[in-house]
């Protein structure tokens, strides 16, 4: 069973490495990341949200759902930590 899991993980790793060769080169102007939304954010973020820091504007406004999910994940982690660790151990 352990070897099956190891084989699956190894195959998946090879698959991800193979996919990596299909990525556009770093910083390429024609890649989808730099032609689709990035120019819009750079041109309009300050005018639309009054926020000079584009990172904050994207994080909290354009991608607000993401940040809501992140906050919920952090809160869930805290609740789970409290539940798991506050279990009192009684002497037998």
């Amino acid at each position: 069973m352990k070897w099956v899991a190891l084989a699956i993980v190894g195959l998946f790793t090879l698959f991800m490495i193979y996919i990596e060769f299909g990525m556009p080169p770093y910083g390429e102007i024609d890649s989808p990341a730099s032609t689709h939304v990035s120019p819009y954010y750079i041109e309009n973020a300050e005018g639309e949200t009054d926020t000079p820091n584009i990172v904050t504007a994207v994080l909290a406004d354009y991608r607000g759902y993401d940040t809501l999910g992140e906050t919920t994940v952090i809160f869930t982690a805290g609740v789970v930590c409290m539940i798991l660790l506050s279990k009192t151990i009684k002497d037998d």
Binding site: E48, T49, N53, A60, L68, T71, F75, C81, M82
Partner: protein
């Protein structure tokens, strides 16, 4: 389990530094629109200050001022502020988390989105701060407390 780091130098140094760390956390939170920073970072800095006090002054003293349960409640309030901002936009007739619909008619649209980002960052700040302090309290408490 760490009870307290008994050292007068560490104690005094942390007492002197903690107010400035609090101020710096608030600066990072409210200046996140103009410089690197924001809710996550500010919450981590604020939680670091509280954890520093917990380690130097001891839990008995600091838990009276800021009980562990209050930390988790603060975290919940943070998530509620975030979701509430989104719901206010929803009930104002727009999409969830579309801050341009916040019911503040005397503010221009860009200003409303600015304020929406600020409310959301405050929610994130409270959430991260409360949860980090709560996790520290969970892993540092007595087994039979």
């Amino acid at each position: 389990m760490i009870k307290r780091y008994l050292d007068i130098i560490a104690e005094l140094a942390s007492i002197i530094m903690v107010p400035f760390i609090f101020l710096f956390a608030l600066y990072v939170l409210f200046f996140g629109h103009h410089s690197p920073g924001g809710g996550f970072q500010a919450g981590a800095i604020m939680a670091a200050a509280v954890i520093l006090l917990r380690m130097t002054l001891g839990r008995e003293v600091t838990r009276k001022k800021f009980p562990p349960r209050a930390a988790l409640i603060l975290g919940a309030i943070g998530v509620i502020i975030y979701t509430g901002t989104g719901l206010v936009c929803l009930f104002a007739g727009s999409n969830f988390l579309d801050y341009a619909a916040l019911p503040l008619p005397w503010v221009p649209e860009a200003g409303r989105r600015y304020l929406g980002i600020l409310f959301v960052e405050i929610g994130v700040f409270l959430g991260v701060f409360g949860v980090m302090v709560s996790i520290f309290d969970s892993i540092s408490r007595e087994p039979l407390e």
